[in-house]
Symmetry: D2
Subunit: 267 residues, 4 copies
């Protein structure tokens, strides 16, 4: 299923950690489709992850960057353009981490310093990346910027805790910056709201397995796998979706539009 | 920009009238991408339109069918499978017509017999087509069904009149039938909510030109052209979007997510 | 809890059948709050129901009207104004019936004549009522029109069948007519999306009891009872909500905003 | 129009600055309706505002509290219960301020330290207040918590800048905490999305006057005034709306549901 849909396109992929990461699968797929990419992740993630292996598969380099640090991001965007030989056609933001979830704090007992860090890492980082791209005028006309999000931005999944707020914030940045990038550069900005996916990061969330099964039963097609998400990203980075912008796009086998699936109460 | 994304796929395209029709552009594009199609429209539309010319371009035939007539639709689906040599991979529904609009009736002075006809032609026809596909078990696994809609289904555009209701109804059928087709056949059903587009049908709506300009200014990227809509349909018929279902997808240059564009009041 | 919030207001209540009907509870509550009302229902419902008993409680009369018959509706609105001694301040539409559900037809095997009747009774009747009110200029300035709806208009509940489409259509009429009535008369038009409620009509829906329990567990506050819905209607008919219009208002204990309630998978 | 709808209820009102503040009008109205309240605002706002005058009108006291400071909030909730003689029935959060807007920074050139402060003041403060109420178990059963928000949380109004993100975040906190408070205390949490309103705070936003007129023309009823918002809050604090929770409620004369108002392109 490779059609060279992204032939000649240059991109930056944030957030690949290991083979289970959706960003990892996306990196592999966009390269299969003819894109050249740069990989990036936080220095600490680089130590624990296997991203160098991915860089080999994708015949590229890893440029470390803490997505909450403006100097790191400026360096990343500058170096990426040097390495890729021109402006950027697409960017994937797949970054999320909650300190309060990690420390098992209840939603009614949150630490606000940690919340600020969570929001910075998981959402404000998206504005930071776009602001650097904007100031360096680094996106090509008709380029495409995507971030991965989750339906907890619209509806309450109690165990998702403060990540719900992170995703609401992230999606708002997509809309707001989408206006500016659309007007100036015809660059589109969207979020993909993906089914729960078994990843190393995702498994930190309390009750994840039960919830994965619940979502799988609720969705007429079952949960969307990470590989299918990578396919979907290919279409959104391609030239076939140029006028889709400022949208939150559900990639979830129908979960978001279900009120109730009889399978759930048949047992 | 042809990648043979739809190579080997078989489809049915409803609603091409002339070169301005979005369905016409979609038919041309899917054939460019390697699909084989059957064209269909109402007998009366066939007389006035130029669909035979399109059939030549697409190297196919036209099977006339009144989309409110079950026998016609049964015949269409049976014949299409014979002609294409197998089950159907994708279907496009692009049908809409309002009798009350045509007869210039105000929204506060509607004729209800006409309203029933409008709803039947513009929305219930979509259920009819899907019900025939369902009963004949005519869709391949992982097939894709699409209908074109408009944002008047969510927000009020007074001149759009009872077509607002038609589109709300149409989108509801997509969700409901999407559940059934997803569960049984992994077939997805979605609607594309397209920018106002200059077509022979669209120009019947009162104040269309002023409105087209308004939408164009409101949208950060401007109104999405019909050609871009055809590109987008290609992705939604392809295997790259298998888990997107029961969604209403805005293809509108950002219009739907704008509250106000400063361009509109700068003058 | 009577504050005479509706003192001096005149209203019409459609759809009370028996004590379990939400419309029945609303009729009682608005009269407690000082309103004068007229009751109406279809001639056939009058024979089976106990609406005369309600008329006694409410010290009023019943004017029979088939909500799909324009002459009946014109007579109703004329007579109501005579009986109440002036224009109408508020109207409640609580009408819904699906022939295909009654005849136990699957959603993939619907009879389209019945669907047209279902839509006419359950949704188009709302436009008919408003069109008659409009033409007779029968609403007072700052009046309030309400219809009862259900979240199946937004999300799929398979057993709700074609009533999903009826409710989508109903809500669309509220938005569209809300524009016209707002501009001309400052009359507001809204829908209340109520929790599943045990009524004589509701119990016809397949799997209703299991679903009622599911919704009750999903909602942080549990399902909203009919009595609470009547309270909510009082606020929406009162002068305290004059600028709320064209909205679909969820009265559901939080159901609509829940993605998943851990109670559902604990058990 | 006083019905003593809030007789015996005890509340806390955040954010009244001067007579133009919506919170000011709400304070006056809830007292008219029989409630006892405590007023609070940031120490700095107390110096510039006229809140002592409001305290006299409302026969109450002002307890200063910086809504980003947990000790201040703990003191406020404790003292309020002492002063009012019991648990709290309702809370109004009407706090918003953007440092980047104040300093006239473009959305594509934001200072992130300021953004963090903006989010803390305008949105996280709402979680802080609710977390203190939760830990002190300070809300009565069936209590009501409200925050004022704006439609920029859903759609892009470029001049609103990072306040769009603040409001998205605020509304997400309402949903998430609404789940917890609903389950434990049957307390409801909602946001009111109010029309643009001429206040001392609002007038800081660039192009506010033009925008106010635009929204006024777009809305079938015109912009909702602050006084009407106060009326609406009364209903949401009363016992008549007990099952409305986790909702964002538009109080905007229909603006949110309009796609286009012909009045805008006529002249």
């Amino acid at each position: 299923m490779t059609n060279q849909l992204l032939k000649g396109k240059k991109g930056i992929i944030f957030g690949a950690l290991d083979e289970k990461s959706i960003a990892w699968k996306i990196a592999e797929r966009v390269v299969e489709e003819g894109a050249q990419i740069v990989l990036t992740n936080a220095p600490v993630a680089l130590r624990f992850g296997k991203i160098q292996k991915l860089a080999e598969i994708c015949k590229t380099e890893v440029i470390p960057a803490d997505a909450t640090n403006m100097e790191d991001l400026e360096n990343l965007i500058t170096k990426s353009q040097e390495l890729l030989g021109g402006k950027i056609d697409f960017v994937l933001h797949s970054i999320g981490m909650s300190l309060n979830v990690r420390k098992k704090r209840d939603y009614t007992d949150l630490n606000y310093d940690w919340m600020h860090k969570t929001l910075d890492i998981s959402a404000i980082s998206f504005h930071r990346v776009m602001q650097v791209l904007w100031k360096q005028d680094a996106m090509t006309e008709w380029g495409s910027i995507l971030a991965l999000t989750y339906i907890a931005a619209q509806r309450t999944f109690p165990d998702y805790n403060e990540m719900a707020e992170s995703k609401s914030l992230l999606e708002s940045f997509a809309r707001s910056f989408g206006y500016h990038f659309g007007e100036r550069n015809k660059v589109r900005v969207n979020t993909i709201s993906q089914s729960p996916t078994i990843t190393t990061a995702g498994s930190g969330v309390k009750g994840f397995d039960e919830f994965f099964d619940y979502a799988d039963k609720m969705s007429p097609m079952g949960n969307a796998p990470g590989e299918a998400c990578a396919d979907y990203c290919v279409t959104l980075f391609s030239d076939l979706t140029r006028y889709v912008t400022m949208q939150n796009l559900f990639h979830d086998g129908g979960f978001s539009m279900m009120g109730m699936n009889p399978k759930l109460i048949e047992s």
